[in-house]
């Protein structure tokens, strides 16, 4: 049995409104399946589940606004294949040993449900004192063992939420030795007031405008306020440094034009996708730009989840992520980008697209300015910008020609890297764009 929680769909999200349930109790769900639609200050977002199971109970009715981390539904964890058996288990899972752990069975024959539970909690079954038949560990025994484990543990998600809310997660963990600190506790703590007086003040939702004190903010106002809060925190907390490099795009655009010619529109790739691919590949060479700065330290990410700033028609922007962008083929990345832009503009992003970009790219596009000094999305530590592609005189091997050029910029966090490392990133970017066929 697991609680399915209101997800954090970006560092600036404090609460969400459940606008639609797409499942009912008894429904089998699969990892990655969209189960609900949640409205945030920025847009309506389709949220997914992260494990297979069966919906046991919906805890939050449509129309409710609840804080991030609030249980939305209870899901019975499914054994592999159980969901396909056609017998939905709406009742709580049986804790009693299954027939194969009947009298005479060895302690080693623990039920798969309990084994899975132990694995989830990081408990070694060999160390658990069993109270079931013949000393077989039960689910409750595993819970006891998990609580007894001494090391204070904070889930990565709780750590991030703690950062976002200005809560000292390690203090929470120390207060309850052996317990796992979950995001919900962090939320409770945040609601109770700051733990550390020196912690930065938690930005409060803006008060309604004075002129219309009785009316709720419009969606555009709410989005602007959310962007404003996040960017203000970025400027307040992150010591930005900025670098720029002019990059010749003649090789990349020439290669792309040749690739696209003779292909139907549905198979064409736009220059932005090539820039994003290069940005993602270059991050692998300078991994200290990729991850989260939380609790005074940098957590490098093993994956490159590339945030893409998408301007919305009618104003505002969102920066959802393309997961593992560095490993995608160019065609796959283009498809992901199309999906992202279409969803962002129609207000139907996926929760997984919103939650965890590790570095963000902003591309000013054809009508934009020539360069952007980016503002980093906390808790990320770098933002890559591409200015409008313009034709410029460009010298190659002593010969002057007219080339398409973009000014690439990097805004990065001085607490993690410095200009030398940042320069290496821009050099890697230029190198990838000079050999597009290898992207």
């Amino acid at each position: 049995m697991a609680d399915y929680l209101m997800p954090s769909l970006g560092a600036d999200m404090d609460e969400g409104t459940l606008v639609e349930w797409l499942v009912q109790p008894g429904d089998a769900v699969h990892r990655g399946q969209v189960v609900a639609v949640v409205d945030t200050a920025k847009s309506a977002i389709e949220v997914e589940v992260f494990e297979d199971g069966v919906i046991a109970e919906l805890l939050v009715p449509v129309g409710s606004t609840v804080p991030v981390g609030t249980p939305l539904a209870r899901i019975d964890a499914a054994e592999p294949g159980a969901a396909e058996s056609g017998s939905p288990k709406a009742a709580p899972p049986a804790v009693a040993p299954r027939p194969d752990t009947a009298p005479g069975a060895h302690p080693g024959s623990v039920s798969p449900v309990v084994r899975h539970h132990a694995h989830e909690l990081g408990v070694d079954l060999g160390t658990v004192r069993g109270t079931g038949r013949d000393g077989t560990p039960t689910r409750a025994d595993v819970d006891v063992a998990a609580r007894a484990q001494e090391r204070p543990r904070v889930s990565p998600y709780a750590r991030r939420r703690a950062y976002e809310l200005g809560v000292d997660a390690s203090a929470l963990a120390a207060a309850v030795p052996g317990a796992v600190v979950h995001a919900a506790q962090v939320e409770t703590e945040a609601a109770a007031g700051p733990v550390v007086p020196a912690a930065p003040a938690v930005p409060q939702p803006p008060a309604a405008p004075v002129s219309g004190a009785s009316s709720a903010p419009t969606p555009a106002e709410a989005m602007r306020a959310a962007i404003g809060q996040l960017m203000a925190r970025s400027k307040r907390e992150i010591p930005h440094y900025y670098l720029q490099a002019s990059i010749d795009l003649a090789p990349a655009l020439g290669w792309l034009a040749e690739r696209n010619s003779g292909r139907p529109p549905s198979e064409r790739v736009i220059p932005a996708a090539v820039l994003l691919k290069a940005a993602a590949r270059a991050v692998r060479e300078v991994p200290d730009l990729n991850g989260f700065y939380v609790d005074g330290r940098f957590d490098r990410s093993e994956h490159v989840h590339l945030g893409v700033a998408v301007a919305l028609r009618g104003g505002g922007l969102v920066a959802p992520a393309i997961h593992d962008a560095d490993t995608l083929e160019l065609e796959e990345l283009m498809a992901a980008l199309k999906d992202l832009v279409a969803r962002a503009r129609s207000g139907r992003l996926r929760g997984s697209q919103m939650s965890d970009p590790t570095i963000t790219v902003t591309n000013l596009g054809e009508q934009g300015a020539e360069l952007v000094h980016g503002v980093i999305y906390p808790p990320q530590v770098a933002l890559v910008g591409f200015g409008r592609i313009v034709e410029r005189p460009w010298a190659v091997d002593g010969m002057l020609g007219v080339h398409p050029v973009t000014i690439a910029t990097l805004a990065a966090d001085h607490r993690v890297t410095d200009g030398r490392m940042g320069s290496r990133y821009l050099a890697a970017l230029e190198s990838w764009l000079s050999r597009p066929e290898e992207l």
């Binding site: 696209n260 003779g262 529109p265 549905s266 064409r268 220059p271 932005a272 596009g365 054809e366 009508q367």
Partner: protein
């Protein structure tokens, strides 16, 4: 396809890409990228949509001829 049919097809495709734009008030000779804020992804979507509805596939090499409403109408009318 005559001009009127082509115009209808183009306007239908545009209204899908930029639902909030006032297409009645559109300057038929103006660059759509600035006129109704189409970026390269939008433009590709427009080209895809026209290929589906009219069968006219506009290659990238011809993009400079179809930057305005009039340009699109003439291009599509001549080929569909």
């Amino acid at each position: 396809m005559n001009r009127d049919e082509a115009r209808t097809a183009v306007l239908t495709a545009l209204s899908r890409i930029a639902p909030e734009a006032d297409l009645e008030a559109l300057d038929p000779g103006a660059d759509l990228r600035t006129e109704i804020d189409l970026d390269s992804m939008d433009f590709l979507g427009l080209v895809e949509s026209l290929a589906e509805t009219t069968g006219v596939d506009i290659p990238e090499a011809d993009y400079h001829d179809v930057r305005s409403l009039d340009g699109l109408v003439v291009y599509v009318a001549a080929r569909a």
